[in-house]
């Protein structure tokens, strides 16, 4: 063992502060280990956040090429812009519609795989492989799947006598097309996390329930669902953040169209920053996104954090 790796004061007679002072050289040494990590975190995360927050109060675009303080002008502009509200609506729609089915099915598949011994690896791989495909390749694949006349999806639909849809080319379906694709892409990832979470559930509980005569659904409703609570909390927060940040597939498949029907906040930031070259507006949008994500994370922790059962004792 390396000397001086965390020896936390635990009770004992010496007053807390005194002990810390005695240990201070070692303590500093411990902090030193954090420096490289903190350095990059500051440089690439916290500083840019502060910089973009400052920029969101500046006018900075093609027509005024130097940042100029303008108060809340950018936010007001967004407030009065229809597209902004449409984008917010799309973002929340995307998140709410895609998260819960993803989480639920990920858990169900994880349970099924967990209970199955034969061919287990095969099932894991077949559900997990979409996560491994690069997003760019997956997006192009789905562009062809969604192709209205030649794509496999519409051909299958019409075999069942269902109407062919315009998918990416129609403002009614474009966001659904993206949600389905994102669902396919993320399911395996969350399934794997749930599968790991399930390994922490005490098997004896199932045996006890089985002896008590509980059926499959009952066992999982009463044991699995509550006990994967911590995992669900993690999955929920990661899923919210991931889905709020969806970008690649939108960029590659619809460019937010038709008529902004599939435009979501991160793509809108990108559009404003790198297509319209309005960095002030783009920064204001970034600030809004950060605030929303922060608020949602705190809200979820506040709501569920304390109620979650961490162990089965």
């Amino acid at each position: 063992m390396l000397k001086g790796v965390p020896i936390l004061p635990r009770g004992g007679g010496t007053p807390h502060s005194l002990k810390l002072m005695k240990e201070s050289p070692e303590k500093y040494r411990n902090y030193m280990f954090l420096v490289p990590g903190m350095f990059f975190l500051l440089l690439f995360t916290y500083l840019p956040i502060m910089w973009s927050t400052w920029l969101s109060f500046n006018r900075w675009n093609l027509l005024s090429p130097q940042p100029k303080w303008c108060g809340v002008e950018n936010f007001l502009k967004l407030w009065n812009h229809d597209v902004f509200w449409l984008v917010m609506k799309n973002s929340f729609f995307f998140v709410t519609v895609s998260i819960f089915p993803t989480m639920f099915l990920a858990l169900v598949f994880a349970i099924l795989i967990d209970e199955r011994v034969k061919g287990r690896v095969y099932y894991i791989y077949s559900l997990f492989y979409p996560t491994l495909i690069p997003m760019a390749a997956a997006a192009m694949l789905w562009v062809y799947i969604y192709s209205p006349n030649l794509g496999v999806l519409n051909i299958v639909l019409s075999k069942f006598g269902l109407p062919k849809l315009g998918w990416l080319g129609s403002s009614q379906t474009s966001i659904w097309a993206l949600i389905i694709m994102t669902f396919w892409k993320n399911l395996g990832f969350f399934m794997l996390i749930y599968l790991a979470g399930l390994q922490n559930v005490n098997r004896e509980l199932y045996e006890a329930a089985y002896i008590d005569g509980a059926g499959w659904w009952r066992r999982h409703l009463a044991i699995t669902f509550p006990l994967v609570g911590p995992t669900s909390l993690f999955v929920l927060i990661v899923a919210i953040i991931l889905t709020f940040r969806v970008f690649d597939q939108i960029h590659l498949m619809t460019e937010g169209g038709p008529g902004n029907s599939s435009n979501v906040i991160v793509y809108y930031i990108y559009e404003n920053g790198f297509k319209f070259f309005d960095w002030g507006i783009a920064s204001a949008l970034t600030t809004i996104l950060v605030v929303i994500l922060l608020f949602l994370t705190l809200l979820i922790f506040g709501l569920f954090g304390k109620r979650i059962t961490y162990t089965a004792d």
């Binding site: 005024s64 192709s147 030649l150 080319g169 129609s170 403002s171 008529g259």
Partner: protein, 442 residues
């Protein structure tokens, strides 16, 4: 799991040292020492097809002929992505030496004071004589408001009408009954509507074959062509006067809405990049598309097809499209000179001709068409001459500062009208106002 603990200080130091050594060595060897000048060349690929390999081949050829210059071609994505990369590089103070961007971006680049005027180079090459080799239609988008020339045409196109001859023949009886010739494409808007109607095949409530596809995505560009055909335009050459809501434009948009919403002979907003596949796959009898898609169709279509001028209404007319070369400010003079050499090479008759054959773009150099190789090729594929001949009726594409905002306003409102969410009048009014605001920087 056991934590990983390094055994001792020395081995750690050894690892670090060797890592640093490898890094330094890699840096040293990654730059070929023999090249005197290195230039970075950003280019987009705006149409379907494996054009990256073609560009790399041309760059190799150039390096062979100019041993002192090392060109690093950077494939930067589609037109939008390329402009963003250029933009980001400019902001980072590390401009590319040479880039091809979409022609409408010229004013935005000028606004950022990013490019050098090319007049001195052109003077040195013989001034007007040098420019005389280029098609005038393509040079219209190369000049800034100060009258200086900032771009040299490279991958240039116009939209044209592709038509599936087999499908026309299959419907010959019906076409003849309607007084139409099945051996030629429509020449006017009125004919276009008639042909499209007859060529649409329905089965129950499903459309098995469309008469026509006017794709989405770049429909602003094709709409500009319709505006020209009706004797109007979208933004005047000054880049400030917006004429979007003219009655002629309204008539054009109404025609589109009629084709898509009322007659349903043309699918609504078919995505741009899969439209050629629809044509190749026999989903549609006609399509409006860039000439840049021709190489792919030539190589993969298993039926007889033709290319034709876009039908006229009051007149034939089309905007040009594509990308120009630009040389940037803030780089050493030697690099600018090398970049100019590269431009000269790429627009030479034989090279521009080769590029045209491989990609389907129009060769920007008139002399390409005098080469035996090119003439032989055109004998086999007379479709390739259509875009060149259409240049007689070509106008410069609209240009303005904030072009991307304008384009977005156009596509958003066109999309809304074509999906029936706004009336054509509302859509044009809304776009008109948004574009005026964008130009004024509101």
């Amino acid at each position: 799991m056991k934590p990983f603990i390094p055994k001792g200080g020395i081995s750690m130091r050894k690892t670090c040292c060797s890592l640093v050594f490898i890094l330094v060595a890699a840096l040293l060897f990654s730059t070929p020492t023999w090249a005197e000048v290195q230039i970075k060349f950003y280019y987009p690929v705006g149409v379907a097809g494996p054009l990256v390999a073609v560009i790399n081949g041309m760059v190799e050829q150039f390096e062979k002929e100019n041993p002192g210059i090392d060109v690093e071609p950077v494939y930067a994505g589609n037109y939008n992505q390329t402009m963003q990369k250029v933009q980001t590089a400019l902001l980072g103070g590390n401009p590319p030496d040479l880039a091809v961007v979409e022609i409408s971006e010229l004013y935005s680049l000028l606004q950022m004071n990013a490019m050098i005027p090319l007049d001195p180079y052109i003077e040195a090459e013989g001034g007007k004589e040098f420019l005389a080799d280029f098609y005038e239609g393509f040079l219209g988008n190369a000049y800034g408001r100060d009258g200086k020339i900032y771009g040299i045409p490279f991958q240039r196109s116009t939209p044209i009408l592709y038509w599936n001859k087999d499908m026309f023949r299959a419907a010959a009886d019906k076409l003849k009954a309607a007084g139409l010739d099945p051996d030629r494409p429509p020449e006017t808007w009125a004919e276009l509507v008639k042909y499209a109607e007859i060529l649409t095949i329905r089965e129950g409530n499903q459309t098995k074959q469309y008469g026509l596809i006017i794709p989405g995505g770049w429909n602003d560009w094709i709409f500009e062509a319709f505006a020209r055909q009706n004797g109007s335009q979208l933004i005047k050459e000054d880049g400030v006067t917006v004429t979007f809501n003219s009655p002629e434009n309204l008539e054009a948009l109404k025609l589109w809405v009629k084709l898509m919403q009322e007659m349903k002979v043309c699918p609504v907003l078919r995505p741009w990049n899969i439209t050629p596949d629809d044509f190749i796959g026999g989903v549609t009898a006609m399509m409006y598309y860039s000439t840049g898609g021709m190489a792919k169709i030539r190589k993969t279509a298993k039926f007889e097809w033709g290319a034709a001028f876009q039908p006229k209404n009051k007149q034939y007319g089309t905007p040009v499209g594509g990308g120009d070369f630009h040389i940037f400010k803030g780089i050493p003079k030697a690099n600018q000179d090398a970049a100019w050499k590269f431009i000269k090479f790429m627009t030479r008759p034989d090279i521009a001709g080769y590029w045209s054959i491989e990609s389907g773009y129009v060769s920007v150099n008139k002399k390409s068409y005098e080469l035996a190789e090119m003439q032989e090729f055109l004998k086999q594929f007379p479709q390739m001459t259509v875009a060149r001949d259409q240049l007689k009726y070509a106008y410069p594409k609209m240009m303005a500062v904030n072009y991307q905002v304008i384009r977005n306003a156009m596509t958003t409102n066109l999309d809304a009208a074509l999906e029936g969410k706004k009336t054509p009048e509302q859509a044009l009014q809304a776009a008109h106002k948004m574009i005026e605001d964008a130009i004024k920087g509101k």
